[in-house]
Symmetry: C2
Subunit: 215 residues, 2 copies
DNA sequence: GTCTATATCTCGATAGAC
DNA sequence: GTCTATCGAGATATAGAC
């Protein structure tokens, strides 16, 4: 995690521990003692570095949202075709969520709680800017429709479907591995297969009907 | 909620209040006082009817899991074609989640916490029985592939994608309505559109290449 | 900066009158 | 069954020595 450089070593240890514990136990379930233990530090030091549990949580949440925004941006790299964009987007998204599950968990927790905090901080960066990920995805998909690369489907609904397919797998993992234990044993392979599947299904779902036959 | 008949009026009021509060605040974030207020009774009465917070939570969770299983079964009604099955499954699933969001939230909370409770209680009904929803979906999709109705795609991955597309929308709703306020104003219409979109995208994604598939 | 000891507070749970 | 008052555990937060 590169942009933790603003912190000293101790602060960073605390921060990582806090992210881990908050994401697993939730804001309320998390215990300052557990964070302290995991950071290998005295409990009193938590309050020395970050005044209170609430402030520590806010700090962690802010970091998490930064992370999420970066991943959005990274996943939307400029690519030639819509097909390439979609493939990159899905792979990038799944990679990010897979590697930063604590970040994802924290955000889902916030969403379940109403998402007020997320809305306050992310609103400006998700709506006003035309460069924001959702608008960009929608614009590029619409362009692909207009030039006949794909068939007409609602871009916003499609975005929801793609994001859901990338994220929810990790939330539901306890169920997934219950039904198919192989998903645990061959985790990496399963994730790669998931990337391929989501792209394949969505892209075929958007394919122009009977294109070869020039309907 | 029909099968709450086992409870007296007061018990049922408590139960509904508890489901609501637990689903919004999580097991740890929930406050017995808030449940009492919402049930319009004294806090001491909670302990009179349900001994402890833990027992109350367990009771609620058990009910929720019953509900989820029923919805699985209902969504897998016998239908002639895979196409009809898929359409019914998606519509049924979205309807259930939309109408029982508290149930869904509680289950997602459990999943984020590791899903141990869910696994203990749902495992037998999700794996051993061949009539269980996942196996049934996979079997029917495989049959459709075998007889050439749809192209070869991984049934398990497809199931994950479909379920994700139906559920995650409701979790991410705070974000959805931030990007597209219309989703709030025209909620019912948006949900109907979502059903149609998910079916449309997935079924076309599974369509045999080059084969004209009307609808 | 670090630690021990302790203050303070919140919340689940109970006692006991009615 | 219902309510008021209160206990006690457990968690956050601070004081103060080093």
């Amino acid at each position: 995690m590169a942009d933790l450089d603003q912190y000293t070593d101790t602060e960073e240890r605390i921060f990582r521990a806090a992210l881990e514990v908050f994401s697993k136990k939730g804001k309320d379930g998390a215990r300052m003692q557990e964070i302290a233990d995991r950071a290998d530090i005295n409990k009193a030091m938590l309050h020395y570095y970050f005044r209170s549990k609430a402030k520590l949580y806010d700090e962690v949440l802010g970091f998490v949202m930064q992370r999420a925004l970066s991943s959005f941006a990274a996943a939307m790299q400029e690519t030639d075709t819509f097909e390439a964009m979609l493939r990159t987007f899905i792979a990038g998204y799944i990679d990010f969520v897979g590697e930063h599950q604590a970040v994802m968990r924290l955000m889902v927790n916030e969403l379940l709680a109403g998402g007020d905090a997320l809305r306050r901080k992310l609103a400006p960066r998700l709506t006003s800017e035309p460069a924001a990920m959702p608008q960009q995805f929608i614009r590029r998909m619409q362009a692909a429709i207009d030039r006949g690369e794909i068939r007409a489907a609602d871009p916003f609904q499609t975005l929801i479907t793609v994001v859901s397919s990338c994220i929810f797998f990790f939330i539901a993992f306890p169920m997934v591995r219950l039904i198919n234990p192989e998903a645990t044993a061959q985790r990496e392979a399963f994730i790669e297969a998931r990337k391929a599947h989501v792209f394949d299904l969505v892209y075929h779902g958007l394919a122009v009907k009977g294109k070869r036959k020039g309907r």
